[in-house]
Symmetry: C2
Subunit: 95 residues, 2 copies
């Protein structure tokens, strides 16, 4: 599924609630999900880990929806088959 | 671009460095990018905000690569056109 399609699906599913909650509250949910992903990385339960990765991208898409950002366009503008820092594929950054 | 294709692009671009850095260090980068996204949400600079959204999904894909997770499969397993909590589209959760 395209990143853009996924964002649209999240909009159909959650936009009304996301909008009511607002940007600050939705960002807070995202940070909670990132914390849970960190905990799941320390477990050895693949299914749980997959669910936490899913939650982070889902909340990122929700946040993009209410912030008026097209996640796929924004992403491919910066990461368009070369590293945005060094301009190479693969990345040749030395830091 | 499909989520899966984006993850593969990130693998081609960064996998060697991501693997050397490891899961803990890459997770730390992800949390830094989420923090920067939070700061950008408080600014009114759309281009900067787009870049921060791009960075978060990019680092999430990098982390998925070294954790051995297919981000698209994991995401669509949980968010398959209905809310994973209430089973409805749109979501009808009452909390």
């Amino acid at each position: 599924m395209h990143i853009h399609e996924f964002q649209k699906m999240m909009r159909r599913m959650y936009f009304q609630r996301d909008r009511r909650r607002g940007i600050a509250g939705t960002y807070e949910w995202l940070t909670d999900e990132v914390r849970e992903l960190g905990e799941a990385l320390n477990s050895n339960q693949k299914e749980e880990l997959e669910g936490e990765f899913a939650d982070v991208i889902a909340w990122l898409a929700s946040l993009a929806n209410i912030a008026g950002i097209d996640l796929e366009k924004a992403t491919l503008r910066k990461y368009d088959d070369k590293c945005p820092k060094c301009g190479h594929m693969p990345c040749k950054c030395t830091f």
